[in-house]
């Protein structure tokens, strides 16, 4: 079986971590060709991943801003050669893969957490409160991969890199601007340690307490939806059912109650620490270490003692 893996490209660079994790799932399905919609250098970076048979580079202005319509047309133009089309379940892939699937008249298989065989997969449903095993009856499988449940493939590959022909742009949509949050901290989905703040943190200014602990630990910063909605933190830090799904070595939840929609995004973390002043908070039911305390006292103390 031949697999086409759509690489994650952001700002012209290959997002190695997300691509390498999806590659692990893709390798279980067959020989993997990686499609990189971006500059040659991004393609060459993908070629160094272990287990890649070939890299196709589509370096065309039509793909520079990851607009769904031209990207989907490109993937569909390449689809005849492949039994599986796979991508990491990033916002870009979630935007484009269902479009690809509909154009191929197949069902998309979103957010798989395990590969059973070439047509059978596990995926979480109901905010992770149930796991479905689904078998696809479609001839071609279009799959997005929950990266938090797959180990990243290693380096050491040297696959050949070829150019892919552009499939053009019908101009249905056009890019206006990106507002990217620049931070020197590690990125949420690849971080080993995450410190997340919730509504309990109280304000954008107070959120600096979360940042200070994160910096001490070399951690990424996350947030609950309530914290994002209240303007304490930008939207791309939201962890949960409808935000990012993470599974770091250590997740520290501060002033977060533990709603199922939040747990959906972090309950596969290796060690969970919860700091909350309410001993009844549901977050304590999933925490390995719980501390009932006022975060305004506990956080500075913890940061100071590390």
């Amino acid at each position: 079986m031949a697999v086409l893996l759509l690489a994650e490209v952001a700002g012209g660079d290959l997002h190695i971590d997300a691509t390498a994790k999806a590659l692990t799932a893709a390798k279980a399905l067959g020989e993997v060709t990686v499609l990189v919609c971006g500059p040659q250098a991004a393609g060459e970076a993908a070629a160094t991943l272990d287990g890649v048979a070939k890299v196709l580079v589509a370096d065309d202005a039509a793909y520079a801003n990851t607009l769904a319509e031209p990207l989907a047309d490109l993937v569909v133009s390449l689809a005849p050669g492949y039994s599986h089309i796979v991508a990491p379940a990033t916002s870009d892939a979630k935007n484009v893969l269902p479009r690809v699937a509909a154009l191929l008249d197949v069902m998309v298989i979103s957010d798989i957490s395990a590969v059973i065989d070439g047509e059978t997969f596990e995926r979480p449903v109901y905010a992770g409160n149930a796991i479905q095993t689904v078998r696809s009856k479609d001839e071609k499988k279009v799959i997005s991969v929950r990266t938090s449940t797959f180990e990243a493939a290693g380096a050491g590959g040297s696959a050949p890199v070829e150019a892919a022909a552009s499939a053009g742009d019908k101009g249905l949509s056009s890019w206006v601007e990106d507002k990217v949050d620049s931070s020197d901290r590690p990125e949420l989905t690849s971080a080993k340690v995450i410190v997340s703040g919730g509504r309990g943190v109280g304000s954008e200014e107070n959120f600096a307490l979360i940042g200070a602990l994160a910096d001490k630990l070399g951690a990424a910063v996350g947030a609950s939806r309530a914290a994002v909605d209240s303007g304490f933190a930008p939207n791309d830090l939201q962890v949960g059912q409808t935000g990012k799904v993470v599974a770091p070595e250590l997740y520290i939840a501060v002033g977060i109650s533990g709603a199922i929609q939040h747990l959906a995004g972090m309950k596969d973390s290796k060690i969970i620490v919860a700091i909350n002043k309410d001993e009844e908070a549901p977050i304590f039911q999933v925490a390995d270490y719980g501390l009932v305390a006022d975060l305004f006292e506990a956080l500075p103390e913890l940061t100071g003692k590390l």
Binding site: M107, W175, D178, L302
Partner: protein, 252 residues
């Protein structure tokens, strides 16, 4: 301009989901059902566009069991004008897949000719996040998913999207499909007089067969199981104790 808003009846987001012991699915009998939260946001956005004079009619569609009539009534009580109920299943446990839903919606769009379709980005039961993109594909329209801001300007819409790296703004030619993210707006509550009025608003009743769409699933659900549960942890009495434990566990 007419706006079409597909709304799905799902388990209420506050209900604790119970997986059936025999692995056949999730128990939905006698469970509180509500409109998918993202769809409420889509309905609200459509009504606001109408109130702003950018649209003249808001039409709701729900596909599933006949009880989805209630979901449509809820949206009509918020202020939508009329509804289309497409019965496609008898058993409340049958979920119609995004591809089949998109095909039915395409047929309805062909009939109704809306200038904009606004829908939820994701149904909180199957967590597919697919139907809007699939509908746009079938129609050959542009799409603007995960919208946190929407402005209709002449023959296009400017949409700010919530993406992994932050926010992206795009312009999409109308007609188009927009899918709503959580921060697009805060949906209103229906007032009692509006709930009464909604009872009189027209709801067309159709079946999947009327549109010639085969709703047989492409993904066979082999089994549904409980996720692994986490082992109960321990409470620590102080920050010092926490630091000691984390060091002992090799976490810091």
């Amino acid at each position: 301009m007419k706006i079409l808003v597909p709304v799905k009846r799902v388990i209420d987001y506050n209900v604790k989901v119970r997986v059936k012991a025999d692995g056949s699915g999730v128990d939905l009998a006698n469970v509180k059902m509500s409109m998918n939260p993202f769809d409420e946001i889509a309905v609200e956005e459509a009504i606001r566009l109408k109130e702003a004079g950018k649209a003249d009619e808001v039409v709701l569609v729900s596909i599933g069991v006949k009880q989805a009539q209630e979901t449509i009534r809820n949206g009509l009580a918020m202020g939508a004008d009329r509804g289309i109920l497409v019965t496609a299943a008898e058993d409340v446990h049958t979920d119609i897949e995004p591809l089949a839903v998109a095909k039915i919606l395409k047929a309805i769009v062909d009939e109704e000719q809306p200038g904009l379709v606004i829908m939820g980005k994701q149904a909180i039961d199957n967590d597919m996040n697919a139907t809007g993109q699939m509908l746009a594909a079938l129609l050959g329209w542009g799409q603007a998913t995960f919208a946190s801001e929407l402005a209709v300007e002449g023959d296009s819409a400017v949409v700010t999207r919530e993406v992994d790296g932050g926010l992206q703004t795009i312009k999409v030619a109308l007609p188009a499909v927009v899918t709503a993210d959580l921060r697009l707006n805060e949906p209103r509550y229906a007032s009692l007089p509006n709930i009464m009025k909604a009872k009189k608003k027209p709801v067309d009743e159709k079946t999947a067969g009327d549109y010639g769409v085969d709703v047989a699933p492409r993904l066979e659900v082999v089994k549904t199981s409980e996720p692994p549960t986490r082992q109960a942890g321990e409470m620590v009495g102080s920050v010092d104790e926490l630091v000691t434990k984390l060091k002992a566990a090799g976490a810091i």
